[in-house]
Every structure is written in C-alpha cells, then in structure tokens.
Symmetry: C2
Subunit: 118 residues, 2 copies
DNA sequence: CGGGATCCTGTAGGATACTG
DNA sequence: CAGTATCCTACAGGATCCCG
C-alpha cells in the first residue's frame, strides 16, 4: 500500500506558493547572496511591494536571511539560510516533474488532435 | 555549485496549487478509487462546484481518470492515473518537509519569546 | 447522484507615488 | 537604495439553486 500522506503538504505548499516565491528562491540558490535591487532586476515583472512582502515572509519562516548594512546609501543582502536550503531538493523535484509534465501535456494534445477532437 | 533550478517548478506548482488539490490527490492515493460524493465527504468544507472544477482540471492534465457508469442513479469514479502517481514522491517530500517545518516554526517562536520579543 | 449555472466576496498581487 | 503607503483589480474559491 502506498505510504499515506498525512496532509501536512499544506505547510510546504504555503511556503512555496505565491506567483514569485519560487523564483526568488531560485535566484538565491543560483547566486547565493543578492541585494534587493539585484533580485528585482533578476525577476522581471515583480514590483517592490510584492518582492518586499515575499522576502519578509520568507524571512519570518527562517528561509532567507536579511543582512542590513548601516550605511548611506542603504545596502541589504538576502541569502538562503541553511534551513532554507532544505527546500532545494523539493524545488528540484518539482522542476524535474514540471519539465516532464510540459512534455506530457504536449503529447496529450497531439494525441487528441490525431483522434479528432473538436 | 548548487544544481540550478531552471524554473519549471511553476508547472508543478500550477498542478499542486489550489486550496484543495493536494487533499483530493491525498484521498485518491489513500483510497485508490472514489466516487464523487465519497470525495466530497472525505474533504470537509469543499463545495461541489470547486470539487468538480478541480477534478476536471486534474483530468485534463491526465492526473486523475474519470469513469462514468451509464446508469440511474449516476455513478462516477475517480482514480489516479499511472502518470498521476508520479506526483506521489513530491507530495511525500512536501509532506515530510511540511511536518518538519511546523516544528521548526514553533521552535523559532519559542526562541523569540525567550529572547524577549515585543 | 453528480453535477451545471449564477452570483458574490476576500485577498493575492499590481500600479504608482513618496521617503530616510 | 531599499523600501513604505495607497489605491485598485482579477480571479480563486464559496453559497445557492436547479436539473437529468
């Protein structure tokens, strides 16, 4: 029998969900540590407000850490915490599955065309 | 260097996200095959409309299959497809991580109390 | 029994302007 | 530079009623 999932996937989903969350994490995985505007530039389309909000949430959850340099002009650096890094395998699994799923959906579409769908 | 995630996690997230999606999948993993109202009863709080919509989406993505018995009263059975089952490891990983994350958050809260947060 | 058709609402997320 | 502070909108999701 399949190992039953006790439904705490919500908790993980809560962290990962959000239109931009995983892209932020992706950047921090790739670049280790980034400044606010660096992140903003790396993620086209996101607004300051949303980026700030997401980063605050991730910070609260101990997934990213925020280093503030008391200087003018301000400098703030974000990076993954060690704990946050435990998300990487999940993101990688989802990434893999996602890639495969895209292919799968295309094949499905092709099949349906061949069998003459409306 | 960390294996960069190419950002197709969106695709997987798209499938999994939705307030109820993973609970539906959870039920189908546990019970193999279920009728509409069985699912509805197993997932307290969900409405027919939403359940129907989610099932349709999952069906379109070839993750669940819908078996209709032409009879009165109607009988419709839902179950995971073999392809849909490839999601199980991801759900399990998220479940594990989610459980651990809950503990982690509690520890964080306790730490902050001890250090005298406002 | 397993939905479809409507109508409604909360909130995640966007646009824009201002600031230490 | 790295944010706040407002205001606004789209849409996921909910409530309800109807139907073969």
């Amino acid at each position: 029998m399949v190992n039953p999932i006790s439904c705490k996937a919500d908790t993980a989903l809560d962290v990962l969900v959000g239109k931009w969350t995983h892209k932020i994490l992706y950047q921090l995985i790739k670049n280790e540590t980034m400044r606010f505007n660096e992140l903003k530039r790396a993620i086209p389309g996101i607004t300051q407000k949303v980026l700030t909000a997401e980063l605050r949430e991730l910070e609260e959850q101990d997934i990213v850490i925020r280093k503030i340099y008391a200087q003018i002009p301000p400098k703030v650096e974000y990076s993954l915490t060690g704990y946050g890094a435990t998300l990487i395998p999940i993101l990688e699994a989802m990434d893999q599955w996602g890639k495969n799923h895209k292919k799968h959906l295309e094949e499905l579409a092709a099949d349906q065309e061949r069998s003459g769908e409306s």
